[in-house]
């Protein structure tokens, strides 16, 4: 025994000897003579001094050295400091089982014994569950021993397995012995109690899982909030990048001397690009008549030289519950007639009967500018990158460059603002004599339909009208004859039935054009010849919307129906109808979204083949104070839908 250690801690030793002395006196003074542990524990003095001694870490170590009790026994310390003593730490680490930290022991929810939030009965302890399970286990062992254990069929209720052992339905039926029957009764009651316990425990477990789901939901919400924040920051940075790029273009333009070589190179590249593009067009388009115009290059220059392709992709909408409202805000004072946007949470352009066209930042729900120039309300519009074309009731179409709006948006000077207007407006197309009701542009090719019963094709660069097609005349010229259609008189009256637009919708792709007119007929045109190549007849009311891709054409009409046509055969693939006239429609591979002047958007999930609706009329159905306005127009991209309502509200939804 080395005492050197001890002498270092004479104080501890003093403590210790005190403890020993008290122990001795406690034992001696006990009435029984010999000390039992109980006497020791009951003696206050002993307890105090002993715990003082033991609490002291050094004397603790001393004691430990002397103990030769079982390997598993730790010194009975009350509060020993783990980290200071290597010896103990080592010992603790070598422990072969898990233990809980003191913090974990403190983290115990209160009221765990009271009924759970769902109020599903009493709470049983796990041990009760264990005890209730034991008889069944014994039962099973018995059965295995008897070789009776047949793989139980869940559909078939094995009555003998439910009843306690020794009891069968047959025995109950034939029993004459009241004592036996009461025995049966007792054992069945007992089993019933056990089942009740196990049921309660299982139900409780469900509650616990619900609780976990709730917690996960909360976690999801906070992370969702993070994604939202990141995406907003991303958007801001993207905009700054864009700003820098346009600034660089500007500087290059102002000081050509410095960047001469650079520009030279750029131009060369651009020439090559043009060549590339035109050769692409040659192969892509059937006749390759659509030449790329150098002037349009200038218009699109901003978007061509500045890669406006976003580096990052907004995806926040995919984490919303489908059908949930992302944002809604008051945009106009009157009915919203049309809208379009570039990317989810990006830029949106809206038009309304209040004669304004507004540009919006969707991520903030703020108006970032006005497109002023039309003398009447805009009926239709389309947005592609930074270019917007609007078609108005004043019979004109206008081409706008949104990037100009952005660049000079900070100018405070009134003159500057005027200039800005001029810069933003690239072109005005003025040949129609009545209101423009439909338009579509693809690449440099703009096609518009008007109430003057003509379709006009425009060159986006020059603003020149390339051709004018009189719909009625062209239709009668068409080789495809149709009895109903030859009867022109009847036909005209059909066109005039109600206030519907003569040309309700159109879409072009290279030389292909599809129009939907008030007579309910879909016409497919060849823009090179200006002739109708096919008519799709089926709708019984004015057409209001259409869209096609490489395989199919989907149309919506005032006759309340949606029809899907096979572009190859011209036959109908599918059709369905809603309760009210369709006003707008858009589809992608996943879904068709249309509006029909009701308070919800109608969505057809093409993959799940499921119809559902989304909108304020549904989400706020229970809110009696809230009167949802009818939805006039909707557009969607990548699960992000924007709808415009009759009261000038805009709503964005995850679908």
């Amino acid at each position: 025994m080395s005492y050197t250690n001890h002498s270092n801690n004479s104080n501890d030793l003093l403590n210790f000897s005190k403890a020993v002395a008290t122990t001795a006196s406690a034992i001696v003074s006990s009435p029984n003579g010999f000390g039992s542990s109980e006497i020791l524990i009951n003696n206050k003095n002993y307890k105090e001094s002993l715990s003082n001694t033991l609490k002291n870490s050094n004397s603790h170590q001393l004691i430990y050295k002397h103990t030769d009790l079982g390997q598993d026994q730790q010194p009975g310390s009350l509060n020993y400091k783990k980290k200071k003593q290597k010896y103990f730490v080592k010992k603790r680490r070598s422990k072969s089982f898990d233990e809980l930290s003191d913090e974990a022991l403190m983290d115990i929810p209160s009221n765990s014994h009271s009924t759970t939030s769902n109020g599903t009965g009493d709470m049983f302890s796990l041990f009760q569950g264990f005890s209730a399970t034991l008889p069944e286990i014994n039962d099973r062992i018995e059965r295995i021993r008897e070789g009776k254990l047949i793989e139980s069929n869940p559909d078939q209720i094995d009555e003998s397995a439910i009843l306690p052992r020794g009891i069968t339905t047959h025995k109950i039926k034939i029993s004459q012995n009241s004592r036996q029957l009461s025995q049966f009764k007792d054992s069945i009651n007992y089993k019933l109690d056990l089942l009740e316990i196990r049921k309660g425990l299982a139900a409780n477990e469900i509650n616990e899982i619900d609780e976990k789901i709730r917690n996960l939901q909360l976690m999801r919400e906070s992370i969702f909030e993070k994604v939202r924040k990141f995406e907003q920051d991303e958007l801001f940075l993207e905009n700054q990048l864009y700003e820098i790029d346009s600034r660089m273009v500007l500087i290059k333009d102002i000081d050509p001397g410095i960047n001469f070589q650079l520009i030279d190179k750029d131009e060369q590249e651009q020439d090559e690009l043009e060549k590339d593009e035109s050769s692409n067009l040659m192969t892509k388009s059937v006749y390759g008549k659509l030449k790329s115009d150098p002037k349009l290059k200038n218009y699109r220059n901003v978007s061509a030289s500045v890669p406006h392709n976003r580096k990052t992709k907004p995806m926040l909408q995919t984490y919303y519950e489908p059908g949930s409202e992302i944002r809604s805000f008051h945009a106009h004072d009157d009915v919203i007639t049309s809208l379009d946007f570039d990317v989810p949470f990006g830029t949106m352009v809206t038009s309304s009967l209040d004669n304004t066209v507004k540009v919006w930042d969707l991520s903030r729900g703020k108006c970032s500018g006005l497109l002023e120039g039309h003398f009447a309300a805009v009926k239709c519009l389309q947005m592609e990158e930074n270019l917007v074309v609007t078609g108005s009731l004043d019979a004109t179409l206008k081409l706008w460059d949104l990037s100009k709006l952005n660049v000079l948006g900070g100018g405070n000077d009134e003159e500057e603002e005027e200039e800005e207007e001029n810069l933003t407006l690239l072109h005005s197309f003025e040949s129609h004599v009545e209101e423009v009701t439909a338009l579509h542009f693809h690449k440099n090719n703009l096609v518009s339909g008007s109430s003057d019963r003509t379709i006009r094709q425009w060159d986006l660069n020059t603003g020149h009208c390339l051709q004018t097609i009189d719909v009625l005349w062209a239709s009668t010229q068409s080789n495809i004859t149709h009895s109903q259609f030859l009867d022109t008189g009847n036909n005209l009256s059909m066109f005039k039935t109600n206030n519907a637009s003569f040309i309700g919708a159109l879409q072009c792709y290279d030389a292909a054009l599809a129009t939907g007119t008030a007579d309910g007929i879909v016409r497919l045109w060849d823009l090179r010849s200006g002739e109708v190549i096919r008519q799709l007849i089926g709708h019984t009311g004015p057409m209001t919307s259409l869209q096609f891709d490489d395989k199919q054409l989907i149309t919506g009409s005032s006759d309340r129906s949606i029809r899907m046509w096979d572009l190859r055969t011209g036959g109908i693939i599918d059709a369905f109808a809603y309760d009210s006239p369709i006003t707008s429609l858009q589809f992608d591979n996943r879904r068709i979204i249309c509006t029909n002047q009701e308070t919800t958007m109608k969505i057809y999930d093409r993959i799940d083949e499921r119809h559902w609706e989304c909108g304020a009329g549904k989400s706020r159905k229970d809110d009696t104070d809230y009167e949802a306005s009818t939805i006039n127009f909707a557009r969607h991209k990548e699960g992000y839908a924007v709808e415009g309502r009759s009261n000038g509200m805009i709503g964005t939804w995850a679908v």
Partner: protein, 140 residues
Amino acid sequence: MAKLSYLPALEDANAPLSDKQLEILEEQVESEMPNPSIQSQFNYAWGLIKCSSKKQNKKGIDLLVDIFKNCPQRRRECLYYLSVGCLKINDLSEAKRYIDALVNHEPDNLQAAQLQRVVEDKIAKGKYQICSKYIYDLGI
């Protein structure tokens, strides 16, 4: 429903199950993998605690600690089971830590108080033995 006591008596931990029974309990947990129900886990854990082998007991404690971590509503009773388990493998300090925590949260729990007494008693006995050994070493 008062037929089954809410918490096990200490003696219950010393009555081992048959191998067959334990096997069935283990099978039950395995059949529910990867997300075994708390009850099945506990059944197996308690079965292990009841075993006479210390190795099995420790495994049972590990499982109980898991339940404690995963299921906040069961923490209080788990403290009791843990304490019994630790007492059984003679880890008195752990047993005391657990039972003290339980008694702190539930001062009215008679069974917990009883277990606390048992644990303290055992510790005191141990200390007494240490002391007498020390006294003996010092040659007093």
